[in-house]
Amino acid sequence: MDARLRRVNKEIADCKNDKTSHISIDLVDNSPFHLRGSFDGPEGTPYEGGRFEVDIVIPESYPFQPVKMRFLTRVYHPNVSSASGAICLDILKDAWSPVLTLKSTLISLQSLLCSPEPRDPQDAEVAKHYMTSKESFEETARYWTQIYAGGPGKDGKGVVQKGGAKDEIAMAGLNKAHVDQFEALGFDRSKVIDVLRRMNYRGANIANINDDRVVEELLK
């Protein structure tokens, strides 16, 4: 049997036999080289109670080459692209080693949720939010977990809930009063949200941004 297939099969079996980590790996389209992993959001973080799904592609020369992973569940985190789910983590790049496995890599993703590295961001806007106000960042991350990762009491199981009423202001990690203030000047609400999010109009950073600059951006 092909060495890559033998290794992947062992890894999948290893994951199935481990009942304590709550990490699961499933086949996509019956291919052992395209998988879907999922794990619980770590306790004591804004991701607690959510279930996070990851798309896994096993490259041709695995395990010499790193496995390719990205979040399928949308995550609000400095090292994860909020749009594409792309992940910034050294072991998925040049620090990869064949001693790592699908399970240990998924556990590393879980740890990444516990300890963001905003100085090496994948999503610069989210990283700025984190650096400006950790409290506000966590509130937003918690809201995303609830909406996308199926928080407690919901049966979302990490699937995006379509049609559910989402609070766009909370999604962007902004303050309703600030959005109202600029919307009152006659700008479109979604445009205001977009501009304030990009400008990181939050916490102490607000003092650095005068209203004229915001209006200037809104007029662009």
Binding site: K10, E11, S61, F64, Q65, K93, D94, A95, P98, V99
Partner: protein, 336 residues
């Protein structure tokens, strides 16, 4: 009658011109410009090519290996080349640093007249050591004793890896690959063939076999470092030159592919494989009192080695390891 691995001999022969100095010289100017500003300008092009390869990511390296495997026509430096006279290396330095030339002369006058060059992909220490290790067993005066002793050393290693916390599933395939290659030195395979020197070279130029062995030696090095306080208490980060924890050191500078080996890795691997290793340091600077001596670093603290066994000889130039030999070419019947 054709040997099963004859096609790969062909391939090695066809590829070997790409390692010739003239070809290197034509590529060199393109590759030279951007890296390693600290390099002596007078050094020959060959040297910079290797460092250029090392600046590639492991990912890119493996993509390149894979391409070479898929399309044999793509010229690429072999993972391990044929034995060539050390005089060829001397030629490459003749227009460059005379310090290197004098050191090469010194080596040749002391019987080290051959070199087997390895690809500069950051795995060169592990690959060189593994190849030289197997070749030394093959050519041992008592090959049977050498194989048995090697097998017993290798068979003792999974326990070391498990003690260091590696799951068997991450190392058993690589372990089997390494062990079965050493077994084949004397024991015929299913086709009744024992490993010939040419087949050994072929195996080390097959990316999957070669890289599996490199990975196993990296894991073994890591396990040894973690378990040996003589080594693990004195680990410096190659990036910051500060003390680092064994776990961090091993994860970043041992287990990851393409990361060059330094003294702790060499010391640990020699110990774990129970082999003596001597490394000739070619640095272009005279170190001995009589001017042109080459410093040999002897990693000879390993216990449990075969008494009287010759050490594995490597040649180090800054950033790269090759295999040093007392023969200047493979025997005439090597590829037949």
């Amino acid at each position: 009658m054709t040997e099963p691995s004859s096609s790969s001999h062909q391939e090695i022969f066809q590829e070997s011109p790409s390692a010739s100095p003239s070809e290197d010289a034509t590529i060199a100017p393109r590759m030279k410009s951007k890296d390693l500003p600290e390099l002596d300008e007078a050094q020959p092009p060959e040297y910079t090519i290797m460092d250029e390869f090392q600046s590639l990511t492991p990912l890119r390296e493996y993509q390149m290996d894979e391409q070479a495997l898929l399309a044999e026509s793509i010229p690429d430096r072999p993972l391990i080349g044929p034995l060539v006279p050390l005089a060829m290396l001397r030629e490459e330095y003749e227009r460059g640093s005379q310090g290197f030339v004098r050191q090469i002369d010194w080596l040749m006058s002391h019987g080290h007249i051959g070199i087997r060059r390895t690809k500069g992909d950051g795995d060169c220490f592990y690959r060189s050591l593994a190849f030289a290790y197997c070749e030394r067993i093959m050519h041992a005066p008592d090959a049977e004793l050498a194989v048995m002793s090697a097998i017993s050393s290798i068979e003792a290693t999974p326990a070391l890896l498990e003690a260091a916390g590696f799951q068997p599933l991450v190392f058993e395939d690589f372990y089997e690959m390494f062990l079965s290659l050493v077994r084949k030195i004397l024991a015929p395979d299913e086709n009744g063939k024992v490993l010939t020197p040419a087949a050994l070279l072929g195996a080390f130029n097959d990316p999957e076999t070669s890289n599996s062995i490199v990975v196993y030696l990296r894991m073994l090095t890591s396990a040894q470092i973690r378990s040996d306080p003589d080594i693990s208490n004195f680990l410096l980060s190659p990036e910051t030159a500060e003390f680092v924890e064994p776990r961090v050191f091993c994860e970043h500078f041992v287990e990851a592919m393409g990361k060059e080996a330094d003294h702790p890795q060499m010391q640990a691997l020699a110990q774990a494989l129970r082999v003596h290793v001597s490394v000739a340091y070619l640095d272009g600077h005279s170190s001995g009192q009589n001017g042109d001596e080459v410093t040999f670093v002897h990693l000879d603290k390993a216990v449990g080695t075969v008494p009287g066994a010759e050490p594995v000889m490597l040649l180090y130039r800054p950033g790269h390891y090759d295999i040093l030999d007392t023969r200047s070419e493979d025997p005439m019947d090597y590829y037949t």
